[in-house]
Amino acid sequence: MDPGTQMPNLLEHLPKAQRDDVADAVTHFLVKLSLKEFMPGGAKEEEHAVGKKLFHKIGCVSCHESGQGVGLVHVPMKYGMDSLTAFLFQPLHTRPSGRMPDMNLTRDEARSIAGYLIGMEGRGGLRLKPEAVKVAAGKKYFEQFNCVSCHKLPGIKAKPSLALAKLRVGKGCLSVQPKGMPHFYLSAAQRETIGKALKGIGKPLRDQARIQQTMVAFNCIACHTRDGAGGVSDVMFKHFGTDEEGLGNPARIPPTLDGVGVKLKPEWLRKVLFDAETVRPYMHTRMPQFGEANLQYLPMLLEKVDRLQKVEFPEPKRDDRRKYREGGHLLVGDKGLNCVACHNFNGNPSPGLKGLDLLTSFERLQPSWFAHFMRNPQKFRPGIVMPNYWPGGEAVRKDVLGGNPNEQLLALWHYFSLGRSARDPSGIRAEGTDLKVTNRTRVYRGRSRVAGYRGIAVGFPGGINYAFNAQNGTLSALWLGEFVSVYWGGQGAGNFNPRARPIELAQDVSFYRLSKNDASWPIQPVMDKENPVNPDPLYPRNRGYQFMGYQLDGEGVPTFMYRTGEVAVEDTANGVVANRVNRLERRLRFDASKSETVYFRALTGQVRSLSATQFATDAVKMQVPEDTALLRGEGDTRELLLKLKLPKGKSEIRIRYELLR
C-alpha cells in the first residue's frame, strides 16, 4: 500500500478472513474519531498546476522525489483534499515527531500542493459510516495490538514495551518469521545492521555523532553540507532556484552547516530553526520547521562543538565612534567597496543585485565568524561572487582608516551595529511612494507644502487633483496628471507632494465675515526661524472656522464639512475632463441658522476680470455666481472675494475652476 512505510504488519499471523475483520473494525473505530467527514473529490486544475510548481520549487522534492526518498503514491488513496490540506498546513499537529516538517505554507499553498498530490480525479471515493458494533470492536483491537504505542490517542495507555537495549536479533520482531509480533519484513542485512546498532544503543552518542545522526534523521543533508557529507546533488540542482541568478549558487543552495554554531548568534540560530526566520527572500527553497521539541538540543550541541579562532571587535571609544561610523559608511557605499552593488541595505533595495540585507549582519552573525568570512569569503562559501577585499591581508582601499584591515572590519561591524540609525550608504536611496488613483477617487491626508500640516489630497480617476487645507478650510492647490508622491522614510509621517506642477492658491481661511468690503482679509499667522512660535494659535478658530470632517460618496468623492460661524458648509468638488477642458466643479452648500452675509475669498494674485462672472490668473480661470464677485486690490496682490448673502436655512453656490496648465 505505502512502500517504505515504517508501519509493521500487525496482523500477519491471523487467518485472512480474521485479518480483514480486524482491519475493518479498526477502520470504523478510527473513522468514528474523525472530527470531519471525509470529502472525496479531486483538485481544481489551477490548484494542481500551482501545487506542482510549488512542490518542485520550495524543497519538497528533496525528500519526496519520485523513485527516491519517502514515497507519496499512497497519498491519493489515503487523503481527501481537505484532510491533506490540513495536514500540510500544520504537519506537526498530526505527526509531532517532525520527520514531515512544516514548510511554512500558507493555507492556499497547502491546498495547492494537496491538489497536486491527490490529482484532479481524486481516487479516494469511499465514504464510510461507522457502525457502533464495529467501532466497539475496533477500539478493542486498537488496544489489543498496542497501536497506541506509536499512534497516541487520549485515554488509551500503551503497554510497557521491551527496552531497546534488550532486543536481540533473531527474536521477537527481529526474527525471520515473527509470530504474533509486528512484522516489518526486514531483510537479513537489515536485521544485521539493526543488531549492530542495538549493541551501542544504551550508550549516549558523543556530541559530534549526535549532530551527524540528527543531520541524517531530519535529512538536513538533502540541502546542506556538514562534515563533508550531504549537499545538493547534480540531479537535484535544477530544483534549487532563485530570483537573483546573478548571485550565483549561494543564492540557490542553502548555506553549509559547517561551523554554523560559531557563525550564527545563539538567539538567531534558534529563530532560524524554530521560528522560520529567514534573510534570503530570493532563495526558492524554504527552511523547514521540524518543531522545537524535536530539536531543542541541537543549537546547544552546535555551539559546543563548533570552533573558530576568536576575533574581538571592541566597542569603539566614544571619541572614535565617529571615525568608525564614517569609515563603515564610506566602505559600504558605492564610493567605497560598493557592497551595495549586491546587497540591500536597511530595507532599501540595491540598485544592482538584491542580495541579503547587510543590516541583518550584526543581529545574526558572531563577530569572529564575520571577521574570518570577510577576509576570505571563498573559503566559507566556495563559488560565492563576493570578492575578497583584503587579499593577502592587504586592504584594497588603502585610503580608508589607514588601509588597516582590522580597522576597516571594525568600522564595518560598528556601522552595522547601529541598526536602523546607520545612515544609508551612498548608492542606496530611499524614494517616495507614488500613490496611484485607479477607478475610484482617492483621499490622502498628510502635511504638504501646498496644503499645510492638516492637508488633504484628493485625486480623481480622470487625472484632476486638488489639495484642501483642512486647518483653514481652503482649497489650496490644483494639478493635472498623476496624484501624489508620499515620503515614508525617516521619522515623519508621510508628507505628500503633487506628482505634477501644482497651481497653488492662497492657504488662508476662505470664509470670513468682513466688517466692510475693503476690510483686510485675516491672513494665517506666519512663523519663521526668528519667530518659530505661533503668534495666533487659535487662528482660524477665532475667525469662526471649525473643520468637521468629510463624507465619501460611492465613488470615493469627499464632501468636506466645516462651519463658518453658525453656518454649516458642505463642500464637494469633482474633477471633470471633457472637450479638452480640465476643470474642477465645486459645489458649496450652506445651512445657516439666520440670514447673514459672509465673504468667500476665491482667488488671489494677478487676477483679471473677464466678465462679471469670469476671472482668471495665468494658471486658472474661474466661473463664479452672478452678483457676488468683488475684485479688489492692485497688481499681483489682488483678491477676488465673493460676497454671499445667505438666506436662513439651506442654499448653495457653484464655482468652476478651469486649469490653464
Binding site: D306, A470, N495
Partner: protein, 501 residues
C-alpha cells in the same frame, strides 16, 4: 575545506557563545532570550503581500476582529489572529489618515456616538462605515484643538475611560520646543466632544492609557527633564516635568501656570516647590530597561497569558522588547516597579494589545530611529506556552521594606537567606539637559527576611527606604524548589512615598 574546526572535545576550550559586542545605540541584551522562549513563544503573524503595515495602534472590534492602525494612516481589520499558525485575513477599512497612534472603539447602539475613534497627528476622528460595505466612508472631526506645525508633533490617544472620556498626549515640537498650541500637553476629550487641556509638561510621549487600577497614565521618553523613560500619572492640573509647554497656560482657562522648576535639582525636592509637579511613578533605568518605551496594555486575560494578570505590559521601540510594570498608590501618590519580560522581537515595538484568546499582539516598525529588531515592520504574537516561568511576580512597598511575590515557591535555604536579596538604590538629576546618569548610588542593608509559609512571597526589611530613589533588586541567588533560577533576576521599584505605619 572549512576553516571551522569541529572537535569532539567538550568543555575544554573557551566556548564562543553570545559575545555581546554591545551596540552603542541599542544597548546590551538581557541575554535571557534563549530561556524566555520556553515560556513565551514569539509567533510571527504573516502580513499581506505588498502591504506595509507599520502598526501604531490596536483595538478589538465588537465582531472580535482586531483593528490595526498604521503609521502610514491605514486601518486594517484582521481576522484569525489567534489561530495556532496564524494566517489572518486583512481588510483595509480606511486609508489616508495621518500617522495613527490611537484606536478606541465606542459602542453606542442607541445614541449617535458609536464607532472607531482614531487619534492621528491631525486630530481625533470618529470613523464610520455608514453604508456597511466594509469600508469607512464618514470621517468626523471630534477634536483638533491642538496645533500641528512639525512632523515630530505626534498625538497618542487612549481608549475610553469608564466615563467615556478619551485622553490625548501631545508631543513637543521637534521633541524640544512648544511652538504650536498645547504641544507638550495632555487633553481630555469628553463624551460630548469638549477638549479640555488637563496637564502640561509632557515631552515625547510614547503611549497613553490606564494603569491596572484604572488611573490614566502615559509613558514618557528619556530626554530633557527626564533622565530615563518613565510611566507617569496624568494628574488633572498636574505638571509632568518638562516646562517648555508653560506658554499655553493662558489658553487653559481653568489651570494656573506653575512656577518654573530649577534645573539641576531632584524631582523629590523640586515637587515641594513646584506643587503641580507629579513625581514619576515608575522609572525604567535607561538602556537596562528600554530606551524608548511605547504603547502598553493591562493584562485582563484572566490568566490566559500566564501569572501576570492585572499587570501592565509595555513595548520598547529601540530594543524590540516587552517589559512589565505594576503600580500602587501610597499616601495618594502613584509609584511602582518594572520588570524585564521578553526580548528578541523583530522590529521596534510601537504598541501591544491582547487578543481575544489572551495572547499579546505586538507591532511596529524600525523606521526613523535606531532599533535592534531588523525587520522594517512586523506583527508578532507572544503566546504563553503554559509552562510556569520562575519570575518575580510583583513588588510592593511596606513601611520598612518590600514584599516581593514570586510565580513559584522559593526554596527555604535561599529564600530565608538575607544575602539572596541584593538591593541597590540610585536616583537621577532633574535637569534641562538631555537624559542623565544614575547618581547617588547606595546599597541599603537587608536586615531581615520573612518567607511566607507557601514560599510564594518574601517580606524584607531594609536599613533605609530612600524616598525619591529607584530601588534596584538583584535576586539572582534565589532558587525555586527545583533549584531553578529566576528567568529574570532584576526589578526596579521607584519610591516616591513610604506608607505610614
Amino acid at each position: 575545506m572549512s576553516c571551522c574546526v569541529n572537535t569532539g572535545l567538550t568543555g575544554v576550550l573557551t566556548l564562543l557563545l553570545a559575545m555581546s559586542t554591545s551596540a552603542e545605540e541599542v544597548g546590551a541584551r538581557w541575554g535571557t532570550e534563549k530561556r524566555e522562549r520556553e515560556f513565551y513563544r514569539v509567533v510571527s503573524v504573516p502580513l499581506p503581500k505588498g502591504e506595509v503595515i507599520e502598526a501604531g495602534a490596536f483595538e478589538l472590534m465588537p465582531d472580535n476582529r482586531l483593528a490595526v492602525g498604521t503609521r502610514r494612516g491605514d486601518i486594517f481589520l484582521m481576522n484569525g489572529v489567534d489561530d495556532e499558525k496564524p494566517q489572518p485575513q486583512f481588510e483595509k477599512f480606511a486609508e489616508g489618515l495621518d500617522e495613527i497612534f490611537g484606536l478606541a472603539y465606542r459602542k453606542d447602539d442607541k445614541g449617535d456616538k458609536g464607532g472607531l475613534y482614531v487619534t492621528h497627528s491631525a486630530e481625533l476622528t470618529r470613523v464610520l462605515d455608514t453604508n456597511r460595505d466594509g469600508k469607512a466612508d464618514r470621517f468626523l472631526t471630534i477634536s483638533d484643538a491642538w496645533g500641528y506645525r512639525n512632523y515630530h508633533e505626534y498625538a497618542f490617544g487612549s481608549k475610553f475611560d469608564p466615563q467615556g472620556n478619551l485622553y490625548v498626549a501631545l508631543g513637543l515640537s521637534n521633541s524640544y520646543h512648544s511652538r504650536a498650541l498645547f504641544r507638550g500637553w495632555a487633553m481630555k476629550i469628553t463624551p460630548d466632544g469638549k477638549s479640555i487641556p488637563i496637564a502640561s509638561g509632557l515631552r515625547s510621549p510614547g503611549g497613553i492609557g490606564p494603569n491596572e487600577h484604572g488611573a490614566m497614565f502615559y509613558i514618557e521618553s528619556q530626554g530633557p527633564w527626564n533622565s530615563s523613560c518613565s510611566l507617569k500619572f496624568l494628574k488633572t492640573g498636574g505638571f509632568m516635568g518638562h516646562p517648555e509647554s508653560f506658554n499655553w497656560y493662558p489658553f487653559a482657562t481653568d489651570l494656573k501656570r506653575p512656577i518654573e522648576p530649577e534645573s539641576g535639582t531632584r524631582v523629590v525636592t523640586e515637587k515641594e516647590k513646584v506643587r503641580e509637579l507629579v513625581p514619576y511613578a515608575v522609572i525604567f533605568p535607561y538602556i537596562r530597561m528600554g530606551r524608548s518605551i511605547t504603547g502598553y496594555v493591562v493584562d485582563r486575560t484572566g490568566g490566559k497569558f500566564g501569572p501576570f494578570e492585572n499587570q501592565i505590559f509595555l513595548g520598547d521601540y529601540t530594543q524590540s522588547i516587552i517589559m512589565r510594570a505594576t503600580t500602587e498608590q501610597v499616601n495618594g501618590v502613584w509609584q511602582g516597579a518594572c520588570y524585564p519580560f521578553r526580548e528578541g522581537l523583530s522590529t521596534g515595538i510601537l504598541n501591544v494589545q491582547f487578543t481575544p484568546m489572551g495572547r499579546l499582539l505586538c507591532g511596529g516598525t524600525n523606521r526613523g530611529w535606531p532599533v535592534r529588531g531588523i525587520k522594517p515592520f512586523a506583527l508578532e504574537r507572544l503566546d504563553w506556552t503554559g509552562k510556569m516561568p520562575f519570575e518575580i511576580r510583583s513588588i510592593n512597598i511596606t513601611e520598612d521594606g518590600f514584599r516581593i511575590t514570586f510565580t513559584k515557591p522559593l526554596d527555604q535555604t535561599t529564600g530565608n537567606n538575607i544575602k539572596s536579596y541584593k538591593i541597590a538604590t540610585f536616583t537621577h538629576n532633574y535637569h534641562s539637559g538631555y537624559g542623565g546618569p544614575e547618581v547617588d548610588s547606595n546599597n541599603p542593608v537587608v536586615k531581615f527576611v520573612e518567607l511566607a509559609a507557601d514560599g510564594r512571597s518574601a517580606t524584607i526589611v531594609l536599613s533605609e527606604l530612600k524616598i525619591g530613589y529607584v530601588h534596584e533588586f538583584d535576586l539572582g541567588a534565589l532558587r525555586d524548589r527545583n533549584e531553578g533560577e529566576l528567568l529574570h533576576h532584576n526589578a526596579y521599584y521607584t519610591v516616591n512615598e513610604v506608607p505610614k505605619g
